[in-house]
């Protein structure tokens, strides 16, 4: 893979006791929209801040577009746009002054017309001081700053946090357009629906360790399916469905729910033999996949 973001054994400890990131090996391709998933405290923000050289690794290395994130940190930052998880801006500067200030710090040219158009698209008033903006509007202004000079790599820490559903869709659209023009979007989230919506691949982080990297479709495909069977009379006993990979989850009012890991053919045959009236089978949501991941892993 022609990697836009690559980490090798990247680790971060604080003092001798806190391990924030544990030997992260990761590659994200150019032009890819990559979702970095995990609960609070998993190490998502730590990874992004290591990539930007805001904090220094305790071990391992990272590179962006072939540039070492520590040795060539200035070049790396010239290639990246960053949206922090908790966007804080200079309260006394207006949106316009904020954009002008950060625009003057960028190395690549910034197109004012594009920035104004993007602000309008995000329904953001650039004349207001950052200090009086709502959380959502600060988030929009932060996103605008990250996208100022259309950098080839975007590192976004929970980019839609605080935005209403309509604006979330607008942001997703913008990110897709950025990917279409060739930008790599690396973003962290714990909102499964948005990852499912726009990501091609996801990495799942837990307690500082990368537990899985896979395309969203693979992740969902290879996971357990939920099968709901409705019976006309009292359903047969649990013993009737003791099959490999099948687990009875719930039973109520003539309805039995199963989770099936693998092929559901055996279960369908068994249900048919016991007079099933209706059958529903669905793929799990990413949310369910994630929960399964964490339940399987158990506490660290």
């Amino acid at each position: 893979m022609d990697a836009a973001v690559r980490t090798e054994g990247l680790s971060k400890t604080y003092g001798d006791t806190v391990l924030a990131l544990d030997h992260l090996d990761l590659e994200v391709g150019r032009g890819e929209i990559f979702g970095f998933l995990g609960p609070n405290g998993a190490g998502k923000s730590t990874t992004i801040r290591l990539l930007l050289d805001l904090i220094r690794p305790s071990a391992g290395r990272a590179e962006i577009l072939g540039k070492d994130c520590q040795r060539d940190s200035v070049e790396v930052r010239a290639l990246t746009g960053y949206l922090p998880g908790d966007v804080r801006l200079y309260d006394r500067l207006s949106g316009q002054q904020t954009v002008e200030f950060f625009g003057s710090l960028r190395r690549r040219p910034v197109k004012p017309d594009r920035v104004v158009a993007l602000a309008e698209r995000l329904d953001l008033d650039l004349t207001r001081r950052a200090g009086v903006l709502s959380k959502g509007n600060r988030q929009k202004l932060g996103l605008l700053v990250a996208l100022l000079d259309q950098p080839p790599v975007l590192l976004l820490d929970e980019p839609t946090s605080g935005l209403d559903p309509l604006l979330q869709h607008t942001v997703w659209e913008v990110l897709r357009e950025e990917a279409e023009r060739g930008a790599t979007v690396f973003f962290s989230s714990h909102v499964m629906s948005e990852v499912e919506e726009i990501c091609e691949r996801v990495g799942i982080l837990r307690d500082g360790r990368l537990v899985e990297v896979a395309p969203v479709s693979d992740l969902k495909g290879r996971s357990v399916r939920r099968v709901i069977a409705r019976f006309g009379d009292t359903p047969p006993g649990t013993a009737a469905f003791r099959l490999p990979g099948v687990r009875e989850v719930e039973r109520h009012d003539g309805v039995v729910e199963f989770s099936v890991d693998g092929d559901i053919g055996g279960l369908v045959q068994a249900l048919a033999e016991h007079g099933v009236r209706d059958l529903e089978s669905r793929a799990p949501t990413l949310d369910e996949v994630m929960r399964a991941f964490y339940e399987e892993e158990g506490p660290a």
Binding site: V18, G43, S45, P84, T127, R128
Partner: protein, 585 residues
């Protein structure tokens, strides 16, 4: 549930401030008493001065009561009031800006109860602080052979408490009426300055004299309390003033919006004007971004200059006004000052420069003994805010994510602050020289220039030292405490060396010794005194740049210094999980 939780929380939050302030008051009390003993009979020559009589709270400054009133009961309340303004503005406007006020007011408690407890906490804290100074005052009075009974010191302290609380009430009222902490602080600070100068300068001007009655300092004069013939209606008026101001603050706070415009409902046309100012001059959609050129670090320099322009300008204007006032007053005091030409006290105060009855000596005592330390304090506040403040506020993260080296970013901040502080210091020069010309005071232009610009290396020394400390410690409070300790320690060392022979050699470690304006104004340019501190400042700046380059940013970890020192070992190290979780998200 704990009784009066907000009051107790406010009181707890004032603990460190109160202890530091009480120590300052104790020092002031002892120094004032020793000073009285040192000056002795020579003070008789100031007995007829209206200015010093006003400072002495209506009594001759040569009397024990007048002297204590001038040198303790004038300044102790001011110190406490400044602390009170900081505490009160952070407790309302500061919390409003940080968002925690929302959470507090969402609890089942009335706003009036909240603000009353906040005000009560600060009032109790400041009262205890002033009372803590009384035993030291009594001790100093004994050391200095000043014949004032201890209970009278307590009564006079009561007057100071009422005065301090009144200005704290004004600060709360300002917080309720004005949108930001800075504006509230400036309004309360402005009221304090105006009231103090009305009281002191009013005595020297017939035009101002009638206005002294509106100054709370006039109603809380120390001498009448110390002598026992204090008119009780005055005390009642002061208490009435307190009730009025606190009542108005509670009323206004109850009516205002929280974390919105932050002020009382205004009449339509004024509201329109204010809204226009807040929302910017441009109509929405008519924004024209100025992004034609790339300015790089110039933007960081400019940003630092703009962020600190207002406080530096205000302090610089005050310093320039003080310098001009000192020069303007000199001809009136020339004769009287002759009596103090051989005073050890004033020689110690003025360093080893000119005698106090010369323009250079008078300027040294009344201007160069105060102003450098004010700029030093401003420098460490600016440096601490520019790194630790921005780090805590989250903006440093975004700034450091831009394509510039860390060293260059910090250098931009240092350069911006150095420029604005140097420009501020320079403002005093034309003010002093033009006033000297106007009043016919014979001040050497070259020596005055070197003495004033000698404050630049001193200020830069404090600036870069604070940058270094804050880059090493990552804790704004700890950095500020260390920088403040160094500033105060250096100043006290230089000051006390004038009286204590044993400190004469040691004083050379104080930067104030090397940048002593009283010497520079007489001797002119001295490469060692001028360039020495500049070179040290440069070395400190380079160390700070290196420390900033090596540290982690905005991580709530107590291991920063140790991590930084051992950084060379990070590559290739094998790590094992030793504890749950991480610091990052």
């Amino acid at each position: 549930m704990r009784a009066l939780p907000i009051l107790m929380q406010t009181l707890g939050g004032m603990r460190t401030r109160s202890i530091v302030t009480a120590i300052a008051l104790a020092l002031l009390a002892v120094l004032a008493s020793l000073e009285y003993k040192e000056l002795g009979d020579s003070l008789q020559d100031l007995a007829g001065s209206a200015f010093y009589t006003a400072l002495g709270g209506g009594a001759d400054i040569s009397t024990p009561e007048g002297f204590l009133s001038a040198y303790y009961f004038n300044f102790a309340p001011i110190i406490v009031i400044v602390v009170g303004i900081f505490a009160s503005t952070s407790g309302v406007a500061g919390e409003e800006a940080s968002g925690s006020l929302d959470l507090l007011l969402a609890q089942p408690m009335s706003r009036v109860s909240f603000v009353a407890q906040r005000m009560g906490g600060v009032a109790v804290g400041l009262t205890l602080t002033l009372l803590a100074g009384v035993p030291f005052l009594a001790w100093g009075v004994e050391l200095g052979d000043i014949g004032v009974e201890a209970w009278r010191l307590l009564v006079a302290t009561g007057g100071s408490i009422l005065l301090a609380l009144l200005f704290v009430g004004v600060a709360y009222l300002a917080c309720a009426l004005l949108p930001t902490r800075a504006e509230a602080g400036m309004a309360a600070g402005g009221a304090l300055l105006i009231a103090f100068f009305l009281q002191t300068l009013g005595s020297t001007s017939e035009a101002i004299e009638p206005l002294r009655v509106i100054s709370p300092f006039h109603w809380a004069e120390g001498t009448p309390l110390l002598t026992g013939d204090y008119p009780w209606p005055r005390l009642g008026a002061l208490m009435g003033g307190n009730l009025l101001v606190y009542g108005a603050a509670a009323w206004a706070f109850n009516r205002r919006e929280i974390a919105g415009a932050g002020r009382l409902p205004l009449p339509g046309p004024i509201r329109g004007l204010v809204k226009g100012r807040e929302d910017g001059a441009h109509a929405r959609g008519a924004v024209r971004l100025r992004l034609h050129g790339r300015f790089g670090l110039a933007a960081v320099v400019r940003r630092s200059v703009r962020a600190w322009a207002t406080p530096v300008l205000l302090v610089s204007l005050a310093a320039a006004a003080l310098g001009a006032a000192v020069v303007a007053l000199y001809p009136d005091f020339r004769e009287t000052l002759g009596e103090f030409a051989d005073s050890e006290f004033f020689s110690g105060f003025a360093g080893s420069g000119a005698a106090i009855n010369t323009p250079e000596g008078f300027l040294a005592v009344e201007y160069f003994s105060w102003v450098p330390v004010i700029f030093a304090v401003l420098a460490f506040m600016a440096a601490a805010s520019s790194v630790a403040g921005e780090e805590a506020g989250g903006t440093l993260d975004l700034l450091a994510a831009q394509p510039h080296g860390r060293r260059r970013l910090l250098a931009g901040k240092m350069l911006g602050l150095a420029l604005i502080l140097s420009a501020g210091i320079a403002l005093s020069y034309p003010a002093i020289i033009l006033t000297a010309e106007g009043r016919g005071v014979d001040l050497p232009a070259g020596g005055t220039a070197w003495a004033i610009f000698g404050m630049v290396p001193l200020t830069l020394l404090h600036l870069t030292f604070t940058f270094l400390v804050v880059c090493l410690l990552r804790d704004r409070f700890a950095a500020t405490v260390i920088a403040a300790t160094v500033t105060a320690g250096g100043y006290l060392l230089e000051f006390l060396a004038g009286f204590v022979g044993a400190l004469e050699g040691v004083q050379k470690i104080s930067p104030y010794y090397w940048t002593d304006g009283s010497i520079l104004i007489v001797e002119g340019f001295d490469p060692l005194r001028f360039l020495g501190p500049l070179v040290i400042a440069l070395v400190l700046a380079l160390l700070a740049l290196e420390a900033f380059q090596r540290r982690d940013l905005a991580v709530a970890s107590p291991f920063g210094l140790r991590d930084m020192v051992s950084r060379s070992a990070w590559r290739g190290g094998e790590l094992q999980p030793e504890a749950e979780g991480g610091s990052g998200g």
